[in-house]
Every structure is written in C-alpha cells, then in structure tokens.
C-alpha cells in the first residue's frame, strides 16, 4: 500500500527551509522505488509535486535537489547497481548515477499551482507555522484532493487536533515534526489525534522507516516533546542570564550562560547559540503558541520580545550561515555578543572571555568537548567521570551547571508526568536525535 501511495505525493511549501529537506527525502525514496520497480522505464510512473507559491524559489529548489540527489546516488551506488542490473546499457557508476538523477528530475514536478496535487495520495505540508495559514492551505487542499488523501503536517508546536479540526481533516492528518535540516536530522516527532485510524498510524511508521528516521510519538500538547523541552530550557537560560545581569552586565551574562550550557554541560552549542540557530522570531512564535494552548503555565519572555523589537532575529541565511542574534558569527562561531541596553554588539575579546572564565572557575579535569566525546566509543564512561567531579565542585560555573541540569531533568519529568512523552527514554531520544545531546536529562551519569 505504501509503495502505491508513494507514486503520487505532494510537498506544500516545498522551497522553504523544512519543505526542501522533506522534498529531498521523498524524492530520494520515490526515485529509488521507481527504479527498483521499473528499471527499464523511460517515463516514470511516480510524481512528486513540489508546490510553492513562489516560482523563483522553485528554481532554487531544483538547484538544491539535483546535487543532493547526485550525492545520494553516489552513496547508494551498490544498491542502485543491483536495481539496474538488467540495464546492459548502464555499466559505469557514472552512468548509473546519471540515470538515477535524470529519473528523479522527471519525477519532481516543481509547481506553484496547488491543483497539481489532486491525484496525490500523500501530502506533506511545511508552510510557516501559523494556524490561520495552515488552516487555509490544508482546507484548500482537502477540497482539491480525494477524500482518501492523507496529510502530514510539519508542525512544531500547534496542537494537531486544533489544525485537524480547523482544516476539516479529522482522522486524515498526522503531525510529522521534522528537525532542521530534515535531510540530516534523524528525528521526527509524530503526533496523532484521537481520531487518527490505526491504519494511518501504521503507514506513518512505515514512511518513517523508509525515510530512515527515528520516530518518537508525542502527545498532542502544544510544543510536543522537542519544543516542550527546548523552550523551557531556553526560558530558564534567559532567566539565569537576567539574574546575573545586574552584577555582571548583560553581555557578559549571555556569554557566561552560553559557556555553562555548552562547556560545563557538554552540549553541542550553548543555549543562546541554539536560540540564534532556531531564530528568535521562531522561538517567539512557539512561545505564543504554547502559551495560548497550555493552561496553568506562563510561557513568555520579555527579553526575547525586546530583542525582536531591537531588530535582532537570528535564524540562518539560505546557505546555512548564521544571521545575527544573541551573537554575531564568523564561520558559525560567535565573535561578538549583543548588548540590549546599548543596542550594540560587543566583541568577544580575549579579555572578555578570560573574565568570564575566571568568574566561572575551571572545568573539571576530566572535561572533554562535545565534539571529541561525540566520536568516542567510551563517552559514557568519560562523561560519568566528568559529571562525578562536576557535582563535587562548587565553583560558580559548576553551581550554575548543576542547577541547569536539574532544571532540565525537571522539565523532562514534567513532560512525562503530563503525558506529553510516553517515557523519559522518549525525551532522551528526542534530545539526542533532534538536539544532538550526548545524554538524556534523566540518566545514570549524575
């Protein structure tokens, strides 16, 4: 059934940051299937509609997809050769790869006409996360497509049951929250609603496997697991930073909390760099959504709003380089930090760095950076040694890190208690696959 469904698929918002990655994953799998089923085929059976309102960005999408498809074919050359073994005209790897890419380009249909989706069996929607927009787009598609068409929405925080109801897609919509960039990040949070039939859930599981994703089920509560943890973790970081600001100044406090979260906690990047990566505007949007749907908890940050007011947005350029946010970057490495009071970036000089390091105190002797540990087979043992020492230390850095780690653990416990995550393991899975953490909030390390 899935193979049949993968004959005609559409991606909506295909040229966007998330849409282009989702398009790539689907195109890879659909082309692979097409070649396996029909090695001799000149005109492919399958169609992947790449729908975006903007014609110009669609051209950009193709120029992104083509080299990516070449790379996929190069990597999967052994399987492709096997699938094309009956084609005596294709001998060299180069010929096999060319065939795959040409076939993919015939399967891909970049279009700004949403009516092209009418025969699609599956639709992946990845438009900007605004309920009204999602409602408008999805209900429009529901009118165009057959009642059997199934929908996946790349939604990171709005409850799926709300979208489903608004778009009149009860039982036909699953939340499929990819992480950025979708072609690289293996995590997909899957959110079903009480109306989702089991057959659809099963299909969604199969697609995840085909796209080589790690699926983690999340309950339909705004923010789900990933943003449920990230947003609260980030708010805590902002809060701690503001507490230090009076004594140390805001710029230094940002740097200090960023160092605590990156170095002392052995994460791939500090919390403020992560907020920059996601985009302050996106964080604000998620905050608003979560605040709107979650009762008994206030989720907002005046600081983020003030930053946005000052024109600081973060996020990335289309080439993946980082825009200015809490930090300014050179080659994705922070080189200056924003001072909101003075509305200016302060260079992260050696003296500023060493002042912060002096304040924080020394890292435990067992410390190894995330980059080193992430490739180490014995990382658990090494992290255990590090955290054991950290929890015996009482430097300012150690105290801040311990409190931060305990807060992260509390967030995780609340996600499980609140039924958003099925288990602490699922929270860990999300943080390791979606955020590249080397350990879960609940662990045996500390």
């Amino acid at each position: 059934m899935l193979d049949q469904a993968l004959k005609n698929v559409s991606v909506i918002g295909a040229a966007g940051k998330m849409g282009s990655g989702i398009s790539l994953l689907l195109l890879q799998e659909m082309t692979r299937l097409e070649i396996a089923d029909n090695p001799a085929g000149k005109i492919p059976d399958a169609t992947l509609n790449l729908v975006d309102r903007n014609q110009n960005v669609l051209k950009g999408l193709l120029s992104y997809l083509k080299p990516q498809m070449v790379r996929y074919a190069e990597k999967n050359i052994v399987a492709l050769r096997a699938n094309l073994s009956s084609r005596t005209d294709l001998v060299d790897n180069a010929e096999i790869i060319e065939e795959y890419v040409n076939r993919a380009l015939l399967i891909a249909n970049p279009t700004s006409n949403s009516k092209d989706t009418k025969d699609s069996k599956l639709i992946f929607e990845a438009v900007f996360e605004k309920l009204e927009l999602k409602e408008q787009v999805l209900s429009g598609l529901a009118d165009i497509c057959s009642p059997e068409t199934l929908f996946f929405t790349n939604t990171s925080s709005i409850p799926i049951s709300v979208v489903e109801k608004a778009a009149k897609l009860e039982g036909r919509l699953i939340g499929y929250h990819f992480y950025n960039p979708p072609a690289v990040q293996r995590l997909v949070e899957v959110i079903t609603s009480p109306t989702t039939p089991d057959s659809f859930k099963k299909l969604s599981d199969e697609i995840g496997k085909r796209l080589n994703k790690v699926l983690v089920p999340a309950n339909d509560i705004a923010g789900f697991i990933g943003n449920g943890h990230f947003i609260r973790d980030g708010l805590y970081g902002i809060n701690q930073m503001e507490k230090l600001s009076g004594e140390l100044g805001q710029d230094k406090s940002v740097l200090i909390i960023n160092k605590v979260t990156q170095d002392f906690m052995i994460r791939p990047m500090g919390i403020f760099q992560l907020i920059d990566y996601v985009g302050l505007d996106v964080v604000q949007m998620i905050l608003e959504t979560m605040d709107r749907y979650i009762e008994n908890e206030t989720l907002n940050s005046q600081f983020i709003q003030d930053m946005l007011q000052a024109g600081i947005f973060g996020g990335q350029f289309s080439d993946g380089s980082q825009k200015d946010g809490f930090f300014q970057y050179q080659k994705n490495f922070p080189v200056s930090v924003f001072d909101l009071n003075r509305k200016t970036y302060v260079p992260i000089s050696e003296s500023l760095n060493s002042e912060c390091d002096k304040y924080l105190g020394e890292l435990a002797p067992e410390f190894l950076p995330w980059k080193v540990l992430s490739r180490d087979r014995n990382k658990d043992k090494k992290m255990k040694a590090y955290f054991t020492t950290l929890f015996q230390q009482n430097s300012k850095g150690a105290e801040l890190a311990k409190a931060y780690l305990m807060n992260s653990r509390k967030i995780s416990e609340n996600l499980v208690e609140g039924g958003i995550a099925e288990s602490a393991e699922d929270v860990s899975k999300v943080l390791s696959n979606g955020f590249y953490h080397l350990y879960g909030p609940e662990n045996s390390l500390f």
């Binding site: 050359i77 052994v78 790897n93």
Partner: protein, 412 residues
C-alpha cells in the same frame, strides 16, 4: 634464461609525496597540486643527483591520465621536463597498475638494444581529481571491461580481490587470514610513519592490528575485505634513470650510487580469463621465477622485497606464490614478523601501496626508487642487509601485467 648481455643500472631515483586521503593537508574540496607540478618536482629530484642531464630517450609510465585529467599523448611531457629529449624517441607505457614496472622493463630493453645509453623514466598519476565512486569506473578498465565490469562490484577491484580473499578463506584458515591481513596493515602504517612522503605518515592510531581486524561487512564495503586492506587513492610522481655503464659515466653518476638490474621479466596473462585458482598469482609466479633465473639466484639470496600490495590479500598470496611462505601459511609468515625490517625478508620498507600510497601508473617506478635507496643505504627505514640483492614485483590488474626485477648493490 639468459643473463643480460650487458650491465644495466638504475640511478638518480626520486619520489614526490604521495598525496590523498590520510594526509593531514588533504581536503577533497581544496585545490590540489597539478600534474605538471608533481612531474617538475620529481624530475628536479632526479637531475639534482646528476652532473649532466642529457638523456638519450624517455619513458613515461601512467595508467589513466586520459580519464583522470583528460590528458593523453603523455610522451610529450618528457621533452617538457628535459629539453635534452626534444627531437628524441619518447614512449608512454601503460599496463594499468603494472605501468611503472613495464616502463622500466621497456627502458632496460632499450639500453640492451644499444639504441640508448640513458633512459629517463618518469611515472606520474593524478587520481584525486574525481570521487572514488567515479575513480572506480576508471580503474575498472584494468580488468576486462566488456566481460566483467557490469556484474562487478561498484568499486570493482576491491570486489575482485575480495573474491580472492573469499576463496582463500574457504580453502585455508579464514581467521588466520584475517590476522595476516591485519598484520600487513599494521606493518604498512608502521613503516609509513618513518616515511614523511607517505600517505599514512600522519596515521596515529594506537591499535593498528585491532583496526585491521575489523570484520569485513559486505553491506557497507566488501564481503571479505575491510577498508584497511586496501591501498590508497593517490596523486604522485616518481622518476629514475636506467643507464648502461657508459650512460652512468655520461650523466656523472658514481657506480656506488647506482644499482644493477641483475634479472628481470615481464609476463602477461589473458585479460579475459578469470584466475584458475584464486589462491595463487600465476603470472606473478612466472615472472618471479624468470627474473630470479636470469639473476642466477634463489629467493634465499634476497635481502629485501618490494611487493605490489594493492590489497593486503594480494601481498599475502604473493608471498606464498613466490615461495617465501608455504601455501596457506602466508599469514603465519607475516605474524611471525618475517617481513619486518629485522625479519627474514624485509618488505615494503617505505610503506608499500597500502601505506606509502598507490598512484597507479607510478607504483612500479616508486618501488624501484625505494630499492635503489635501500641498496645505496639512503633509505628512511634502512635494512641492515648482508646479501646484496633486492626484488620488486609490480602487478597490473588481477595478476595480468606483471614485471619483476632483481636488483643488486654495486660493489665499488
């Protein structure tokens, strides 16, 4: 086999760095040295050892410049390097990975024919101009393209030698074979660490044997070979001079700085045929026997060896085929340390194809340069030899184009 009708010498050898994955400075997306750059360096290296640099003829050895860098008509690079060769006879020799050995053999024959007293031999190859998935297409031409490429492995030659290892492991002790191959990798890297020009020079892995023991996995690579069993993808060049005694005098080379070719043989197999017994290298056997006979010695007279280890299994089988180890005992021979610098037959002291690198059409020339350095006591990892003989085996394709040389230290 008749002895050589006159004395033929090799002198003024030079190897450039062999560049590619493994070197710290290697980055596939950064600009790399050009073909001409390697050629100029090696030629200069050879000339620096000569008083006069007038050559009578030239031989260029290369396998696949036509595809890797779209350059044909390679003899034209010899007068580009040496103005003395303008208007003289220059030849390009191609026998896949056996090109280097075959080129030296051509030069030796030219000296024997008395048409020339000195022949400049230059090997040059660029392979990092394309990703290995496409490079495999190019290199597969060393096999029988029409008959075997389509059904061959995507990476072709690792597949060919993986099949040999598969058969070997089913006939003899498979675990021991794996240990022997791991030992080969360990020795190749250990020797490379002493050779600053080698591709594995920067390899700082502590447990090389353990790495070599990585179980092969057909799903990600080969059924019977792991990545450490394979030689490198390399750019590089080597050069030397083949000369008569008269030629050496003209070039201003002292006899003690040259070595003598005391026996050689090139042997060819039918490229369309599969090996009758994959645990043996038939053509290598023939070439080695002929060369030894011509030199009038046996393998027990040899003090050192240069083997064509395009894959560790090829080296292991070659050791048995030539007679250093009994059939099925090659791994034990290696594990006992017989090929180490202090062993019975020190082998590939500069790292071999697995460690130094394997710019395919250059390797034979590189092997001869290293024998020259050993027998003139200029090697980085010098063997303390008693007997004055060394031997090199250069193989093209799956034991198809094989050249073997027995060389001798000059007694001054």
């Amino acid at each position: 086999m008749k002895a050589l009708r006159k004395k033929v010498y090799v002198a003024a050898g030079y190897n450039t760095m062999f560049f590619g994955p493994g070197r710290k400075e290697f980055h596939p997306k950064k600009p790399m040295r050009a073909f001409e750059d390697y050629l100029n360096e090696t030629f200069q290296g050879t000339c620096d050892q000569l008083v006069n640099t007038d050559f009578d003829e030239g031989v260029f050895t290369n396998f696949a410049a036509m595809r890797f860098i779209r350059q044909g008509n390679l003899p034209g690079f010899l007068p580009y390097l040496s103005k003395s060769l303008k208007g003289k006879s220059c030849t390009r020799v191609e026998g896949a990975c056996g090109s280097g050995g075959l080129g030296i053999a051509a030069a030796v024959k030219t000296i024997l024919s008395e048409l020339a007293d000195s022949v400049l031999v230059v090997g040059g190859e660029i392979q990092n101009s394309m990703k290995s998935v496409y490079g495999a297409d190019v290199l597969s031409a060393a096999g029988y393209y029409k008959g075997d490429r389509k059904d061959g492995h995507a990476y072709f030659f690792p597949g060919v030698f993986s099949d040999r290892a598969g058969t070997y492991g089913s006939v003899y002790d498979k675990d021991l074979m794996r240990q022997g191959m791991a030992k080969w990798y360990e020795l190749a890297v250990t020797s490379s660490r002493k050779n600053p020009k080698s591709q594995e020079h920067h390899n700082s892995v502590e447990d090389l044997f353990g790495l070599g023991m990585t179980p092969p996995n057909g799903k990600i690579f080969m059924d019977h070979l792991n990545l450490f069993d394979c030689s490198k993808v390399s750019d590089g060049a080597s050069s030397l001079v083949v000369a008569s005694e008269e030629g050496l005098k003209k070039l201003g080379v002292e006899l003690e700085d040259a070595i003598e070719i005391s026996g050689f043989a090139s042997a060819e197999g039918d490229i369309t045929e599969k090996p009758a017994d994959p645990t043996v290298l038939d053509i290598t056997k023939i070439a080695a026997e002929k060369a030894l006979l011509m030199a009038g010695i046996t393998i027990s007279d040899l003090a050192m060896l240069e083997l064509h280890d395009c894959f560790s299994i090829a080296a292991l089988i070659a050791l048995e085929t030539i007679g250093f180890a009994k059939k099925g005992k090659g791994a034990e021979f290696l594990l006992e340390g017989n090929t180490k610098v202090s062993g019975k037959i020190p082998t590939n002291m500069s790292g071999g194809l697995c460690g130094f690198g394997h710019p395919v059409g250059v390797s034979g020339v590189r092997q001869m340069v290293d024998l020259l350095h050993q027998l003139t006591d200029k090697a980085e990892q010098q063997v303390a030899y008693k007997n004055p003989f060394g031997m090199m085996v250069c193989m093209g394709g799956d034991d198809k184009t094989v050249s073997v040389f027995v060389t001798r230290k000059n007694q001054s």
